[in-house]
Point group: C5
Chain length 358, copies 5
Amino acid sequence: MSRLFEKTYLAPGAAPGHGVHAHHHAGKGARVCAWHYDQECLTELDGDRILYEGAGDTGRGFMWLHLQGTPGPEQLYALGSAFGLHPLVLEDIRHQGQRPKVDFFDNTLMAILSHPRHEQGRIEIDQFNLFVAPGLIISIHSGEQDPFEPVRDRMRGANRNFNRLGAAYLAYALMDAVVDQSFPVLEEISEWLERLEAAVLERPDATTLAEIHGLRRELLVLRRQLWPARDVIARLMRDDLEPFTAELFPYLRDVHDHAIQTVDLLESYREMAATLIEAYMSAINQRSNDVMRVLTIIATIFIPLTFVVGIYGMNFDHPDSPWSMPELYTYYGYPVVWLVMLGVVAGMLYFFRRRGWL
Amino acid sequence: MSRLFEKTYLAPGAAPGHGVHAHHHAGKGARVCAWHYDQECLTELDGDRILYEGAGDTGRGFMWLHLQGTPGPEQLYALGSAFGLHPLVLEDIRHQGQRPKVDFFDNTLMAILSHPRHEQGRIEIDQFNLFVAPGLIISIHSGEQDPFEPVRDRMRGANRNFNRLGAAYLAYALMDAVVDQSFPVLEEISEWLERLEAAVLERPDATTLAEIHGLRRELLVLRRQLWPARDVIARLMRDDLEPFTAELFPYLRDVHDHAIQTVDLLESYREMAATLIEAYMSAINQRSNDVMRVLTIIATIFIPLTFVVGIYGMNFDHPDSPWSMPELYTYYGYPVVWLVMLGVVAGMLYFFRRRGWL
Amino acid sequence: MSRLFEKTYLAPGAAPGHGVHAHHHAGKGARVCAWHYDQECLTELDGDRILYEGAGDTGRGFMWLHLQGTPGPEQLYALGSAFGLHPLVLEDIRHQGQRPKVDFFDNTLMAILSHPRHEQGRIEIDQFNLFVAPGLIISIHSGEQDPFEPVRDRMRGANRNFNRLGAAYLAYALMDAVVDQSFPVLEEISEWLERLEAAVLERPDATTLAEIHGLRRELLVLRRQLWPARDVIARLMRDDLEPFTAELFPYLRDVHDHAIQTVDLLESYREMAATLIEAYMSAINQRSNDVMRVLTIIATIFIPLTFVVGIYGMNFDHPDSPWSMPELYTYYGYPVVWLVMLGVVAGMLYFFRRRGWL
Amino acid sequence: MSRLFEKTYLAPGAAPGHGVHAHHHAGKGARVCAWHYDQECLTELDGDRILYEGAGDTGRGFMWLHLQGTPGPEQLYALGSAFGLHPLVLEDIRHQGQRPKVDFFDNTLMAILSHPRHEQGRIEIDQFNLFVAPGLIISIHSGEQDPFEPVRDRMRGANRNFNRLGAAYLAYALMDAVVDQSFPVLEEISEWLERLEAAVLERPDATTLAEIHGLRRELLVLRRQLWPARDVIARLMRDDLEPFTAELFPYLRDVHDHAIQTVDLLESYREMAATLIEAYMSAINQRSNDVMRVLTIIATIFIPLTFVVGIYGMNFDHPDSPWSMPELYTYYGYPVVWLVMLGVVAGMLYFFRRRGWL
Amino acid sequence: MSRLFEKTYLAPGAAPGHGVHAHHHAGKGARVCAWHYDQECLTELDGDRILYEGAGDTGRGFMWLHLQGTPGPEQLYALGSAFGLHPLVLEDIRHQGQRPKVDFFDNTLMAILSHPRHEQGRIEIDQFNLFVAPGLIISIHSGEQDPFEPVRDRMRGANRNFNRLGAAYLAYALMDAVVDQSFPVLEEISEWLERLEAAVLERPDATTLAEIHGLRRELLVLRRQLWPARDVIARLMRDDLEPFTAELFPYLRDVHDHAIQTVDLLESYREMAATLIEAYMSAINQRSNDVMRVLTIIATIFIPLTFVVGIYGMNFDHPDSPWSMPELYTYYGYPVVWLVMLGVVAGMLYFFRRRGWL
């Protein structure tokens, strides 16, 4: 697939949810884990069983089902059946490259966010799907690495927030982890930018150009994810949605704040990258100008001199004519020619210096 | 007609609907098909009869009248009479290049969308007109190929959605097929962009420039269609219109989501194309600079040398003068000149290297 | 007056309406016509009489007073007296270069629109003032040609709309004619753009630059008119104004649609023109680069050769020295020099080809 | 002070209104005039007395206090005491470079507008402060020249509007005079632009560049004033403020219209100036290209020729060798060399013409 | 840390408020001061005691706790305990590079603003946190220097405003001081811009380019702070928040006005800097063109002359041939060659002058 087109999509006209149950789907599916949390106590459950049988009664605590990797068709089917997810939702999980969004189906909130990684000059986007239902959190992260271990560590510690605020606080913690992931990526990009800046101002060459161009492309890829992510968080706050109570609002505002900051930084970097191209072109032009000046000075000094010595290389030779290059036969002819040539050089140098070219 | 002006329009001052009944209209008109759907059963009807006689009573199911191609004046007149369409609507069907829009006339919803195709570096736009009335769907697609066969296949299969949600679900399915058509087009454009990117960074020439320029023009053409298409879908959702009930909203949101994604991708591509021109200019400048440097090095090395050898080509020849090119008659004169010239070359090379030109 | 400043204005501090009655006003004033329409019947009246005496009772039908050309002061005064127009309105009629707008004074709606013409690479703007009062339409068009003859033809034909919808339908028809006038202008601009595009990519020269620059200026002039025109129509629809009843709304939406399309096209053209300048600069740079390459190749091939032949043009001549250009006196000296020179040429060509300059 | 920073400001942390009463303030203060208007009759009063003692009872008419020039500290103190102005308002009067704004303090409306002048390629901004209280208008204009004499002339004449609409009409008349002042400034800028346009397309040089740059700077300065001025007028209309009754609305709309037009024109000029820089760069590149072409043609024609004549200037001279430049001793050697050289020239010219360089 | 990424952030997934109590935190913490104000009387208190024990009962007056510098973990913990601040708030204080914002926790208003400094071509941002609770102001300024001494001077003087309006007026005074701090920074930037402008138009070189680029980067850094600062003040006004009563509104409007002006100026400077790069490139191109012209003139004059003298340096020498360079042996050959060469020079000069290159 093309680098600039990261979406998988159905053939136009196909049914929504089509391809979800397809058996020709290759790949190993997602790793499934599940936990139950109650009273500051996190218990690991059999993920696969939960996936196929549903959450059951979660008591006072809440259940967290986590799928690491893109689920296979069977897993998707199980998800759909056991948790009553709409076929369109399954389609969104299945097809990478979704735009961050938030949606509601009955009493289930679904949010899609993107989890960027910076790998050797490329921004890779992992998709993060989050479902929040009463007493139940389902999270699906399409990457290889599970980024939520720090969150589980906090759940294992004596963290009253999880106890007091329940599943909604876990939803916040997961979204916070995903949004904050942009900061290390943006920090690496800022270092990349500074490296390129130094390269442009000191020794611009063709690889610099290709790098700036690549950086701008990656910033565009990242931008397609960060802007809608900001709107997703804003909408969660604005709509006063079910699981997010007033007590959780300071936390959501904090995530929103971070989402805005990522967008602010991104836009600054985009602008820096654009000015970098201009600076690159200016630097190239400046160098070109310097080279031209040296060429001009050397050429314009020597071209007239070469003409002068050419004159006296002519073989005019009429034995009787007094017009036949008499200079050649004068006593001081040769040193006079040298003096003339030195005069020409001096005049040129004076002219160049006055023009500011030296 | 000009490539950049794809609209057919009436002479200013002409009556609305004028030209619709014109008999001087050439062309073969549209192919007309019709189906009746009820209880998971799709029955093909005589399209031409329906076109001229109207839908009649459609019972519990619904009727779908489809015209493939731009209708001729007689067909338009029949449409207007049999289904009571407003003359302005007929004018919109007749004149290609309409802006996507949604409108209401009595109990009929009319939507115009555009169905892009990518053909050899050109975006071709087919116009899609959709009419939704109770128990009746009329669709008019101006292209050669009928893109809705996959939809009919789904209707023929045991698809409960068509049964349960009726004509509105068909309307959704048709709009979904038309909007999703942008994805393959955008994917081809993304590949085109990547090809151009490689060309710019590796071997930019005049055809690259013409291609980038052409790509930007096609993106502008596509943009004029995709932005209003997004708004059409948004308005269908916002206005809570007659045939689209709450049960259909997740589907409309899905189409809206896809429409936003096409716009997002398009804008990314437009920006990439703009940066591509800048990169192209930078690359051309860079090459120009390289060429200049080689010229300068060779010229500045040889121009002084040529002057030196020119000196000793002069014919000063005064038999008695000790100033008359005495160097010519010294024992080591010739090798000394060579040494001087080698010294000049060495100095030049040192100067160039210090300047970073080698 | 300057091309970019097309407004006539009063001295700052002057009274509104000042200059309207001024007697130092030269020019022949406007041609005045008037018609009465009732029951599909259009009767021509004595325009001048109506202008000076007012409309009187128009019965069931309506009256249409049309002024072709900029009215003189006496005509303006008559308009003001006979139809009770506000001095500020008269000032707007008098001063060309008004921004399209819509305004209300008592029961009179006033709309100003602009009627563009394309004349030999220049956009000329005629001002169109429309007044709609119960049973009365006043239209003032500042151009030479009356563009509304097709509208009158429709009124003379058996057009039920004029009969049924009355003066408001005529107002619509006039605005429609004025807005649609942008389409032929935009079509000519699109052809102009395509001509320039071909010129840029094939044979860019200084006149191309001047033409692109001129086109951009004309697009700016046109833009100042089309954007507010769109808002005028939108406001007529939004405000649900007196003479425009629900039955007229589909017609107004149609005009609005056309106004949006003109803006869409205009913005596309503006962007094309901007990319054209970039393409022009790229093309110039590309050509410059090509020229440079040829110069470099020829110069770098011949400059060293000229140096070589210069060497053997030196006159070192010491009778006894074995160092005094012994090559000159060897048996194969001359052909060896030729071989050396051919070797230099071959090396150069190889170098250039490897660099991709040939 | 810097050209781009035209604001005078207090040290951060200083009290608002601080510096207003400062006695170290140099400068001669403002000229103070006052008039009383009643029943179409304008009576001049003793301005200084009014300034220090306040307006008193103005009867049925209204009082107009006008200060021409920046008021000194004593005058400001008097204004504050006699008319009860807030210290922040006095600070705004005192510090030039305020942004146009409208504000309310109790029953007093305060508007700040800017009155631009164009003086030899610079936009100078005079500040205009207007206070409207019942029966009282205070106007402060920071310039040297009083621009409101035409307004007073209208008051002296039999102008029913002043009589009927009172102080609010005077407020309108003053704002109208200040807003309309932008038209002559914009007209001069449009002429400046056209002069630069001609210079760019015909004979671009370094002073053209400096002038375009200066024009863009002045447009930025003007822009900082015109945009907020538009909003000031819009807010007066929107808020339905005390002294501006329905009868005055057509007049306010007219001022608003003019304010929009100034912004429209300004934005067009800014865009023209931006395209002018691009056109300038294109023109410079074009000329550079032309120069290069001539150089290339002449150099590439003569460099090979010079090589040819160099060959036969070599002194190879082996008495017995048949390889020792035998051409020199052939009967037709010299004319053959000429023919060869003419052939080279013809070939070159053909090559150049085919490339389109001639 | 990178220059373009000025934020300190927690590892993604870490708990909010994490790191606040960390004991591995180095650094000396903030200097703590406290004052009590009542009845125009400012009493200094023991800041450290207040920090650890809380404000207690402040009577009719109010308490001001000020921390100068970034607080250490112990101080933060004390703040959180004694004044009941939310862990997220403590995190915001701890992590520099926050975006200006306003937030509410129970009855405490928290505002973050930024206090820019210009130091040798770099914009340094100090963070300013302000807490407003009934009878209590807490301010934290991350810089070295306490910028609020002028505010305390006003409190010590007989300033009725502090007495009458209480803590809210102090909050206003502090925000006013912080916002106004942008003016001297912007003034220095405007001077920097003018210096660069002169450099670009008079003697552009590579350091100019690096400086413009640096200026643009600093403007981007400043922009990230000023835009949200404006919104913070606007929100304080719009939301009609607790401590800010109607009497304080003119003061808030004044701060808002200043915040808008800083944004206006900043945007003007950003645009000027962007046009400066264009002007720089134009100037470099212009100079390059000038250099090229001189080179072309000198080279094209001398290259043909060198060819001519090269001709008569050839050694064709057939004793009997009348074609063997007969010119060499004519009586006036040499002066005729000179005349020919002078003719060539004259022709060239005429050609160049006609082209406008001289």
